[in-house]
């Protein structure tokens, strides 16, 4: 499995893709402006991270569509207005609730639409606020894990916000 990551260059991208915690997962980082210099078909997966400015991806729309056509996989994450440069996406904006985890019994309101997807072999719907981590990499996305997943994270603070605002 080879993974190409789009690197828009904000501090949270730099920490996520160049920092020692995760850098070893990625085979190549590429700036949006340099996408034309890379053969996308050499990679199994293209990861477009949270908060990739859409206007830096729009010039590569045709290239990304062609990558899909030859069987490529793109992982497109939030706050990137993916509908502007990827096919078949309709985006419905929702306000972010930064505070749900302060209410006993509440959750973020996210529901799994397709439980059979292989992603959910590793992720559960019910998140515990007790292991939400003070997110320093993706300011608006809570970084939480199901109770059973990384035990080494269970000691992180519960009174720091899961995201910026």
């Amino acid at each position: 499995m080879s993974i190409l990551v789009i690197h828009p260059g904000a501090y949270y991208h730099i920490e996520s893709f160049e920092g020692s915690r995760y850098a070893h997962y990625f085979d190549k980082l590429v700036r949006p402006e340099e996408l034309a210099d890379v053969r996308l078909e050499d990679f199994n997966v293209v990861l477009i991270p949270c908060r990739t400015p859409a206007d830096r991806m729009e010039p590569h729309k045709a290239r990304l569509h062609a990558y899909f056509d030859q069987g490529g996989t793109i992982i497109a994450t939030g706050e990137s207005d993916s509908q502007l440069f990827l096919p078949g996406i309709t985006f419905t904006p929702q306000p972010t609730n930064f505070w749900w985890w302060l209410t006993p019994g509440a959750d973020l309101g996210v529901r799994i639409a397709k439980p059979g997807h292989s992603l959910f072999r590793h992720l559960a719907e019910k998140m515990s606020p007790g292991i939400c981590m003070a997110g320093s990499t993706f300011p608006r996305v809570p970084r939480c894990w199901p109770q059973a997943i990384p035990a080494n994270l269970s000691s992180t603070s519960t009174r720091s916000p899961p995201g910026g605002g």
Binding site: G9, Y11, I14, R51, A54, D81, S136, S160, G164, G165
Partner: protein, 207 residues
């Protein structure tokens, strides 16, 4: 304002994220001397024409490194730069790389005014600590203090310099806030609306 700017020029606001510009930038447009530039459209000429510069925490730091010489020259012309976020690239000689607080607990997020500064005058710094009872939005670490810089606000029991002002050897001034953008309008903490016009004035050398 008591003192006229030492030099003339525009207030350059680099708009990094896609979508509407931040409230601070919109406020700046009311001044008449501000220009909002989409990051992808940035050119050396923007730095040449600028008196002040504001960047947000969404800054493309790899991209800005292409303008390192222009930035250096801008600062040497007595330019002022208000920087928000974590420094992960050496934009200017003398800057260090951001240091996060490891596994921050509530006590690590207390804020302390270390030195009075016109941007924060009359504002109790601990009142920046929480939004709706939650601490950490203001910041959770610090950009290392360059040699000769003055720490303005500290975080945690060690008063790590989360905010500092630095007069460069070349003459310009940089203000570093190592957290989410300060001066955001309309957020849950009213302090930000209070400091917003002051940030614009400081960046343009008006105090």
């Amino acid at each position: 304002m008591p003192n006229a700017p030492a030099t003339s020029g525009a207030l350059l606001l680099i708009h990094s994220h896609y979508g509407e510009p931040p409230g601070l930038f919109t406020l700046a447009l009311e001044r008449g001397d501000a220009v909002i530039v989409r990051e992808r459209d940035l050119t050396p000429a923007h730095f040449t024409a600028a008196r002040g510069l504001i960047t947000t925490s969404h800054l493309d730091q790899l991209g800005l490194m292409h303008f390192a010489d222009d930035l250096e020259a801008f600062m040497a012309r007595d330019g002022r730069w208000f920087f928000n976020g974590h420094i992960l690239r050496p934009f200017l000689k003398g800057l260090g790389i951001y240091e996060p607080i490891a596994k921050a607990k509530r006590a690590d997020l207390v804020l302390t005014r270390l030195r009075e500064h016109p941007i924060f005058a009359g504002i109790d710094q601990p009142s920046f600590e929480e939004n709706r009872g939650v601490a950490g939005f203001y910041g959770r670490g610090h950009n290392p203090l360059p040699e000769g810089a003055l720490a303005i606000n500290g975080i945690g029991p060690q008063n790590l310099p989360i905010d500092w002002e630095w007069t460069l050897p070349s003459g310009g001034k940089m203000f570093s806030h190592a957290g989410n953008d300060v001066g955001g309008m309309g957020g849950p903490n009213p302090n930000h609306a209070l400091v917003a016009p002051r940030i614009l004035a400081w960046t343009m050398g008006e105090f």
